[in-house]
Symmetry: C2
Subunit: 278 residues, 2 copies
Amino acid sequence: MHAFDGGVPHERATAALGAPGFSRASARRRGHRLSDDPGPHAQTLAPTIATSGSGLVARLHAVGEERYHDKHPFHQRLVAGALNRDQVRAWVANRYYYQKQIPVKDAAVLSNLPSAAHRRVWISRIFDHDGSGGERGGTVSWLGLARAVGLDEDEVLSERAVAPGTRFAVDAYVTFARTRPWIESVASSLTELFGPPVMERRIAAIIEKYPWIDPAGLAYFEDRIPLARRDADSALAWVLEEATTPEIEQRCVEALRFKCDVLWCILDATALASGVFA
Amino acid sequence: MHAFDGGVPHERATAALGAPGFSRASARRRGHRLSDDPGPHAQTLAPTIATSGSGLVARLHAVGEERYHDKHPFHQRLVAGALNRDQVRAWVANRYYYQKQIPVKDAAVLSNLPSAAHRRVWISRIFDHDGSGGERGGTVSWLGLARAVGLDEDEVLSERAVAPGTRFAVDAYVTFARTRPWIESVASSLTELFGPPVMERRIAAIIEKYPWIDPAGLAYFEDRIPLARRDADSALAWVLEEATTPEIEQRCVEALRFKCDVLWCILDATALASGVFA
């Protein structure tokens, strides 16, 4: 699971290219109301790209190696067990605003997608965060983490603990999704390529280093890991299919850098608000 | 000139209320093409509000006392002479992005104003920054400061030194101006109430503490002080006129807090990017 840690994780990228892109079986299992007939464009949604795009895949992974938020001092202190309770709480309360806005961002992307077939795939992300068919979504799970670290739910919902810098960064992400060409928004979501191993390390670190946190609160990350892999697979397939010119490739790389900057700035704001950079 | 420094500057606020709001004579002197006939709504643009709004004026000034960016550690180090050359350059290069976007913000406000009479007043702000009739504007003056601190103009224009956090904060300000009710955007501009004394202290500190900076580069601030006073006077008159309910008052106070957060986050990002918070 640490395959991303040194250099470009070529094996993982290759595996992603051969993946089905989106598992409707697992979506049904989670209660998503996706059509059984993905339509005539289904072929374009999960292309088999064995011989092209490897340069772009390497460039995308290089962005993660350089600036995914697991490199941020705040995150490094989190997994080292070096944060105090108020600092952990500041992280959960600030990131709540990001969690809350993810489905807003995904709805904005949805509104710009070029076909019903694309929308059938992407819409699952909104169910994942908002919940569906009696299943809690990611936002509710995040509030479970908030309770597990000792935060009052109403206080979190009030957003009083959200630093302005967090808000500006998250709002920039939503604006990006509303206003940029859809493939750039999809490319910006590819931080999910880097998320699963980081979430696994984060879970292990929290269980080991913060015994005062109820492990039941970690369900968000446990639920999220397979979904992130699924979402990254399908988004990567679309990006590889659409990035047919060096200019589009470049814009996709820049979109992913932008998204890393969003996540990084959330931790900057969290660190400043909680005295980590005092 | 330090009347703002301790408690609520009541004398200054009262003076502002009695001011004409906008001097067309000085606008003409600066080459602005404002109509000589301000139209039937002119009276509403510079009301004489002697008996109302004093509670709101106090609340607005309290926002500045609490969170105007002269309280930020980066600014405090700037005026104390404690920044090194690269840190001063980081400030100038980051704030360039703010300067560049001010007329964009003002054009967004302009597009939401309720009358030609309002637009005749506000449009001067765009000339002030973009230049007009052969007079350089504020953005060109800011590039003069960039040269004075040893920055290459093309490097500044490339925006490579603009931290993502600076960009997110400034973009949030432009989005605010595009999307909020016009009186909130006008209220958000009231940081100019607090600017002139801070600019005067900043000029003195730079001359005294940073002898390596060519004082000719300080023209931006010297030009800006009277314009900021003029703009603050007219904007405050509009806010006092429009804030006829506690709800609108509250939204105007929150708009000014938001704007202070924008300026504060620019310095957060600048400090983080230049090692001041290392």
